[in-house]
């Protein structure tokens, strides 16, 4: 009788423990709230950029798509945005640092979800997609083009489409073939010799080129992943469809991600980013120019003539909230970089702003060691992870990947 009683007790409590260890019930209410906040269901409607009057316009997006792959927009007529932002590779290039006319200092960023991002670039030195697009166009290591050449190219190849969106192009025939404030010494001299009205007219065309490109980039939404389908099922209290469940290891990784490993501190919301800048002690690449990250980005975005408060912006100054209330504390932003989205990250190594880490294992190792930063102070405190915990985090990150066979 005594033994039976014990057995019955064991059976009852055992079944209770089992219940707690599997099924959707292994996430408590707080965890479910966190899972919902990470899923695509929590993604707000695509924002309209008030500084870009063709933001959200499908005709502008179609024109922008054309321009995105137009090699005519480069110094040697062989380079386009798509050279580095490869559409079939999540709009990035799998290299540690992007290579245009020459190698750049940073890694090419994927573009899914950029419309939701208040700051562009690893250091946020631009405050809109259209202002961002202008930077690579006249960067000597990227497109290596110049402003009058872009205007002439639009007149020769895209005059009708341009006019439909922005009105007719100004008279350009009297302008030099190659002139711009950022180019070679000859191009800069030619730019300085132009009348202020002509420079202004060309700048306007140049900014509109950026606005059409931006309208296209805005349409790049983060695709659904297995994690999103799992989250949707869990939140509706039903079993995930075949192939959309998460394994025990993946669930453990998810639990760690939203719990003890503190990843949610920065990688939060449906894009897995807080849209802010953090020093995480990622080491610089040996032999490269010093990189202060956001500390330099602050002054640069304020000085950008194409920012939201500038002459070429279509926004009322009041609407420029990101810029007006920007944190300007330079010292706190030393070697801080924009938190990247983790959607799709698993299938596109290398990682970090200059491709410092070759694999997710190296990334997780960095988070557990939390080394001191070479300058500024790292915000990481180090997480203690078991061997299984590390595997679990990596397994979870893979569920955010749209490239898997099960995720069309």
């Amino acid at each position: 009788m005594q033994a039976r009683r014990a057995a019955a007790f064991l059976l009852a409590s055992g079944s209770l423990l089992l219940l707690a260890a599997c099924g959707a019930d292994d996430f408590d209410e707080n965890e479910k709230k966190a899972i919902r906040s990470l899923s695509l269901a929590a993604l707000p409607e695509r924002p309209i950029d008030p500084s870009n009057r063709v933001s959200g316009d499908p005709r502008a997006a179609a024109f922008g798509a054309l321009l995105f792959t137009d090699t005519g927009l480069s110094g040697n007529a062989s380079m386009s945005c798509a050279t580095c932002h490869k559409p079939e590779r999540q709009f990035q290039d799998d290299l540690p640092r992007g290579v245009g006319a020459a190698e750049t200092d940073r890694r090419t960023m994927p573009l899914a979800g950029v419309a939701w991002s208040p700051w562009q670039f690893w250091d946020g030195r631009r405050d809109s997609l259209w202002a961002q697009a202008l930077a690579p166009l006249e960067d000597a290591r990227e497109h290596a083009g110049n402003r009058t050449a872009f205007a002439h190219h639009l007149a020769a190849r895209h005059a009708r489409r341009y006019a439909e969106l922005f009105g007719p192009l100004p008279a350009l025939d009297h302008l030099p073939a190659d002139a711009g404030p950022k180019g070679t010494p000859a191009e800069r001299a030619a730019w300085a010799a132009m009348s202020p009205d002509d420079r202004e007219a060309v700048n306007r065309v140049f900014s509109n080129l950026g606005k059409a490109l931006a309208a296209f980039e805005e349409t790049l939404r983060p695709p659904q992943t297995r994690f999103d389908r799992f989250a949707a099922a869990m939140l509706e209290g039903r079993e995930p469809e075949a192939g959309n469940d998460l394994s025990d290891l993946e669930r453990e990784g998810l639990k760690l991600f939203i719990g003890k490993a503190n990843c949610l501190e920065c990688h939060n919301g449906p894009r897995f980013t807080d849209d802010h800048f953090h020093n995480t002690g990622v080491p610089p690449v040996a032999g490269r120019a010093d990189d202060a990250g956001r500390a330099d980005g602050i002054a640069e975005v304020l000085a950008d003539p194409f920012n939201c408060l500038g002459t070429y912006s279509d926004a009322e100054p009041d609407a420029c909230t990101a810029l007006r209330f920007m944190r300007r504390d330079r010292a706190a932003m030393q070697r801080a970089y924009k938190t990247p989205s983790l959607r799709g990250a698993a299938s596109r190594p290398p990682y970090m702003h200059a491709g410092q880490f070759a694999s997710l294992d190296e990334v997780i190792d960095h988070y557990s060691r939390a080394p001191a930063a070479v300058s500024g102070r790292t915000e990481l405190r180090g997480v203690v992870l078991t061997e299984r915990g590390r595997k679990a985090l990596v397994a979870f990150l893979k569920t955010l990947d749209p490239q898997r066979a099960s995720d069309p």
């Binding site: 007790f9 939060n268 849209d275 920007m326």
Partner: protein, 151 residues
């Protein structure tokens, strides 16, 4: 009733008893491990540290959002309810548990009169416990009010 049925029933009661004990044990364990409920003021209405001002806020988005820049209306009165309409106000804050500040620099952009002030540029970049400090300088003196917000 046969003794067989009797034992069956007993066994069932015992199992039920075991289940209850297990549930209690799990609940006790949970209470033991879960952090104690925070003993902090979570209302959007507070008195400044030296008691000079009564401060409340409303937000233009409800509930207070994470990851979205939004505006607050602060209302400042004396403890007996008279509006303080000549105040200089500074807003700052952060997450004490994580040792970081706000991702933005909010500012008072408009004095709406009747002790009401529009604060723009409020932004919280993660869920959790935030502390917002409102520095107030007006005729009654300099004082600071603090709001605790759980997002």
């Amino acid at each position: 009733m046969s003794s067989q049925a009797e034992t069956g029933k007993n066994r069932f009661i015992l199992a039920l008893f075991g289940l209850v004990i297990a549930a209690v044990a799990v609940y006790a364990g949970y209470r033991l491990l879960a952090p104690p409920p925070p003993q902090i003021d979570v209302t959007y209405n507070t008195v400044s540290a030296d008691g000079l001002y009564q401060v409340t806020f409303e937000t233009d988005l409800q509930p207070v959002p994470v990851g979205e820049t939004h505006a607050w209306i602060l209302t400042v009165t004396t403890p007996d309810g008279a509006p303080v309409s000549d105040a200089e106000i500074a807003v700052d804050g952060g997450m004490p548990a994580h040792g970081h500040g706000l991702p933005t620099e909010p500012k008072v952009t408009e004095n709406l009169g009747e002790g009401r002030y529009r604060v723009e540029g409020m932004r919280f970049n993660m869920g959790g416990h935030w502390e917002i400090r409102v520095g107030i300088s007006a005729t009654p003196g300099l004082d600071e009010a603090k709001f605790n917000i759980d997002l």
